[in-house]
């Protein structure tokens, strides 16, 4: 019943994303419309894949760092991706793939740095240090990015800022296909870690006693969540709060067991971002809001509610 409901929400979100838009497409012409085929459909699917990736990464990450208020943006990857993208803009690299590739490289660089810092206490990955390292790396890359943006001229600056706030306007069948090939591996790695993540909620030592290979689980979950986040950032810029809010909403419906929670988070995150992107396209048409602004406007009040609930219990 819950799964059916979620399925309906996903279908409705994708349908709305295809039907609504500044250009009027009669319902009868949906299947043949060029606007739908080459613009709205790939964009809806990309929003779904990115939102799903961010949400499942967030759910895994919250269990990994043992903090239910963790979000993929805390990994420091977004900052690295932003720096990579802005560097590409500043260096006038002109190619349709330059931005996503530079952003992905920046995210991987940040990931390697954060991971190395997470190991600073010894051979065991320390999730608390991981989060602090992520915030530090994020702040540092943001500082460098802002320095670059402030030194570049006005038109570039606007591009860079818009890109940093996230947007799916660059959607194409190419990057939908790319994510379809790329995302399944880290998603399966996360799904396979579902049960050990349940144990990890008791603490690392009790999880070991119950039979979990804790060190390996921590590494796999961190790398999988990071790779998903890096790809999401590379195709759509920084989109906050999907990875924080969606796992929470799904926990209300499915409980905290990761076996159902992780796939539910993927579907829910996909639906939320597809809807948010529709709002971003339609709200101030013919202009467009960066979708990161829409998710933040939805996400921040929900976050405050969750924070109150969390601190009250």
């Amino acid at each position: 019943m819950r799964w059916l409901g979620l399925g309906v929400v996903v279908a409705a979100a994708l349908l709305l994303a295809v039907v609504l838009g500044p250009a009027h497409v009669p319902l009868a012409d949906l299947a043949t419309s060029e606007v739908v085929r080459s613009l709205r459909l790939p964009r809806a699917l990309l929003a779904f894949l990115v939102g799903g990736s961010l949400a499942i990464a967030g759910a895994g990450l919250q269990a990994l760092v043992r903090n239910p208020l963790a979000d993929p943006s805390l990994l420091g990857l977004s900052g690295g991706a932003g720096l990579g993208a802005v560097l590409a803009i500043a260096l006038h690299v002109n190619s349709p793939w330059a931005l996503p590739i530079a952003a992905f490289a920046g995210a991987l660089g940040a990931m390697a740095l954060v991971y190395r810092l997470g190991l600073v206490g010894g051979a065991e990955l320390d999730p608390r240090i991981l989060i602090l390292a992520g915030v530090a790396v994020g702040a540092f890359t943001a500082a460098v990015t802002t320095a670059l943006v402030s030194l570049s001229d006005a038109a570039e600056l606007r591009n860079a800022f818009l890109w940093l706030w996230g947007g799916l306007s660059g959607a194409s069948w190419d990057n939908v296909a790319l994510l379809c090939v790329y995302a399944p591996l880290p998603v399966v790695v996360l799904l396979a870690a579902a049960r050990p993540l349940d144990l990890l909620a008791l603490g690392e030592e009790p999880a070991r006693h119950l039979g979990a290979d804790v060190e390996s689980v921590k590494r796999r979950v961190y790398l999988a969540a990071s790779l998903l986040t890096a790809a999401a950032v590379a195709v759509s810029g920084v989109i906050g709060f999907v990875g924080l809010v969606v796992p929470h909403a799904m926990r209300l419906l499915w409980g905290h067991r990761h076996r159902p929670l992780l796939p539910a988070a993927f579907l829910g995150g996909g639906a939320l971002l597809a809807l948010s992107d529709t709002v971003a396209r339609v709200a101030v048409a013919p202009r467009e809001l960066p979708v990161g602004i829409v998710t933040a406007l939805i996400g921040v009040p929900v976050f405050v509610l969750l924070l109150r609930k969390w601190t009250a219990s």
Binding site: A63, R66, P68, G122, A192, R195, P196, D198, L199, A201, L202, G203, E205, P206, R208, H209, L210, G211, A212, D213, V214, R251, H256, R257
Partner: protein
């Protein structure tokens, strides 16, 4: 009849990386089926380190640790969880969960990667809940339990692992007398009736003396005595190890320690 040797620790030494002295030195410990083996000692004497070494979580610098005749380091965490159940000193509850759910986590080591819990897993959980007398709490949220109920639920989760060896690290810390006695009686019954080997880490010298078959007394990581409670817990040994004057009485054939006040003639 010689009981089956479950855990065999021989001449073990361990030093934490960068520490100036050994945390354990020359420790022996043999835990057999149907026996409760208590480990006593002051704070920092190496009790918890001994547990980590015994469970293969820390590799000793010298000596050997065998679980069921196989080196502790050769077991995977998953395989070891099917023969050793542990109630650790503390654990977190990051997400709210019900009693039955948390006991079901004890079945993790029996589940395949993509499989779900089978009838035998639920049967093991039912047995464990009944054995610890917490069946009636199965649908309660963990955070609504009293301290004593919570410890019995955690014990049930360890039993759901269907272990041969049960390791309890300070299981009755902060429990009142009734709950403390209930838990010790339950542990004793698990050894006597179910034939479990029990390794019990505790600060309660007197309860260990009454419930354990054997007592290992640790002082600064070295064994200060190992054997029947009456042989190990003599006045001289206890005073030396705990650095406090005591008197030893006998109750039902077991030694009982009474710490003395300062200012009396013993000091």
């Amino acid at each position: 009849m010689d009981r089956e040797l479950i855990l065999d620790v021989r001449g073990v030494s361990y030093r934490y990386p960068g520490a100036p002295a050994d945390a354990l030195e020359g420790v022996n410990l043999a835990v057999r089926a149907g026996e409760v083996h208590a480990v006593l000692g002051p704070n920092g004497s190496g009790k918890t380190t001994l547990v980590r070494v015994a469970l293969g979580l820390a590799r000793p610098a010298a000596g050997s640790v065998m679980i069921l005749g196989r080196a502790a380091g050769a077991w995977s965490r998953r395989a070891i969880a099917r023969v050793v159940g542990v109630v650790a000193q503390r654990e977190d509850n990051l997400f709210p969960q019900r009693v039955r759910e948390t006991v079901l986590l004890g079945r993790y080591a029996y589940l395949s990667l993509w499989g779900t819990e089978a009838a035998e897993d639920h049967a093991a959980v039912d047995r464990a809940l009944a054995r610890c007398d917490v069946s009636s709490l199965a649908n309660r949220w963990i955070w609504t339990l009293s301290g004593g109920e919570y410890q019995r639920v955690r014990l049930a989760r360890a039993l759901a692992q269907e272990p041969k060896l049960l390791v309890l690290d300070e299981p009755t810390a902060s429990l009142d007398v009734r709950h403390e006695m209930q838990l010790f009686e339950l542990v004793r019954a698990l050894a006597d009736r179910d034939g479990l080997a029990v390794l019990l880490i505790t600060h309660h010298v007197n309860l260990a003396a009454r419930f354990a078959d054997r007592v290992l007394l640790l002082a600064d990581g070295r064994p200060a005595g190992d054997g029947a409670p009456a042989d190990v817990l003599t006045r001289e040994t206890v005073e030396r190890v705990f650095a406090w004057p005591v008197s030893i009485a006998s109750f039902e054939g077991r030694p009982q320690m009474i710490p003395l006040r300062h200012g009396k003639d013993e000091i």
